[in-house]
Symmetry: none
Subunit: 256 residues, 2 copies
């Protein structure tokens, strides 16, 4: 099990070079939901290009605790202004274009932005809810980001799209740690082969005691049972419980 908590401190640094830019968002609720989606993934830098209504109570309500992201958001008049200091600009879009733009998926984008070149300053731009980005805005973008989805119903809610993209960026900060794995704290260690063998011997005896082991079938039954219990990778605490059951069953037999 990968423990993502260990990435959390590093994550904020790894993602601080990324800004999310919303262009002419119509519904203030969406701005709030975007702020929440960003903060969930440790991305805090929000730019709003000519929002229809901001600040707004509806945005704050939907931000649901990510109001610090809203409060720190920068409002500006044009996309050009928002991305002026950026080295890489990625425009999210569901629309097909007459001129085909170089496209990347969110995962490839995360790899590019977080893993390959974490030092560049990056903007990921989301267009209007209904009409996306205009061509002159796309001209500012290095890549078009396309989220894999149902081609017959491809328009994600803007906050849902931001969630997917930020999620991939956050996951990439974990991968960047070279997929470090930490054992679950407080868990008992996994049983060793020797402990499992001793369990199987005990299991065989207990099953024989209750008359479950026909001589001609015992081998194949034990093989099946091994297959079951090996597949689980029992920890020592779990093994203790199962052996407790076997002991209790045997004690019962003896008292007959």
């Amino acid at each position: 099990m990968v423990n993502f908590a260990i990435f959390s401190n590093k994550g904020s640094t790894l993602l601080s070079h990324i800004k999310i830019v919303l262009v002419e968002t119509t519904h203030p609720g969406n701005i709030g939901a975007v702020a929440r989606a960003m903060k969930n993934m440790k991305i805090n830098n929000l730019w709003l290009v000519a929002p229809k209504s901001f600040p707004s109570a509806e945005a704050t309500a939907r931000a649901s605790g990510a109001d610090d992201v809203l409060a720190a958001a920068t409002v500006c008049e044009s996309l050009q202004e928002a991305v002026a200091d950026c080295q890489l600009v990625v425009g999210a879009s569901a629309r097909s274009r007459a001129i085909s733009w170089p496209e990347i998926t969110p995962r490839a984008c995360a790899e590019k932005v977080v893993i390959n070149k974490p030092e560049q300053s990056v903007a990921i731009v989301f267009g209007r809810e209904n009409s996306g980005l205009k061509n002159h805005e796309l001209d500012l973008c290095h890549f078009l980001l396309r989220i894999p989805c149902n081609t017959e119903y491809s328009s994600l809610n803007i906050a849902a799209a931001v969630q997917v993209v930020c999620y991939e960026l956050f996951v990439a900060t974990g991968l960047q740690q070279t997929t470090l794995r930490v054992g679950d704290k407080g868990e008992s260690p996994l049983a060793t082969v020797a402990e499992m063998e001793s369990f199987y011997t005990h299991l065989y005896e207990a099953l024989a005691d209750i008359g479950f082991m026909h001589p001609d079938k015992s081998k194949s039954i034990m093989r099946r049972l091994r297959r079951i219990y090996n597949r689980i990778q029992l920890d020592t605490k779990e093994l203790d419980i199962l052996r407790g059951i076997l002991r209790m069953s045997q004690d019962n037999q003896k008292s007959k």
Copy 2:
């Protein structure tokens, strides 16, 4: 560049064995947003356990064209009912638990569900907006799904969480095209939740018969045993063997 459009037709078949289950959702807008998030990723099977308000105009508005998913949704009274026919149940949760459940990430879940064993029927369960899933509901789950995120602000909007999970499932249908695994021939089908519940009832009785169940400990012991056996995903043949052992143990008790 991967062209995801080519996966779209196959996707609907690959994902038709998956249902999304929402437990006691409070805000109808969230139900609509979930339907949209699902349909964006070609997942159409929605179950609602005791929703506070459904159908509702707010749900339909937020579904934004995914009202067919809402119209086809199944409403039921308990999670048990919703997952009775499922072979794998994954519960989404942000909360830490006293007993740690086996956890998987959305990506590992998608690999398990779409790539490794695409023939099993699967439920992915999302709890209440404020309080998630209760322990007795978690008992029905094989795995806890945890979305990697900011540990200091970890509560995703429910539709955002569904979006991330369905996105990973959809992306996996693309990956599945290249890593297609042939199902294990001659294997028995995996046990359903209903079959496992019946096994747990039987297990409890057999353990009580041999005196293993102290009244004050039985609950936590049963929870630990569930954790063990849910983790394995028993097939029906294996379940037969284990139930045969329980029956034999009980017959022995009676003959005392």
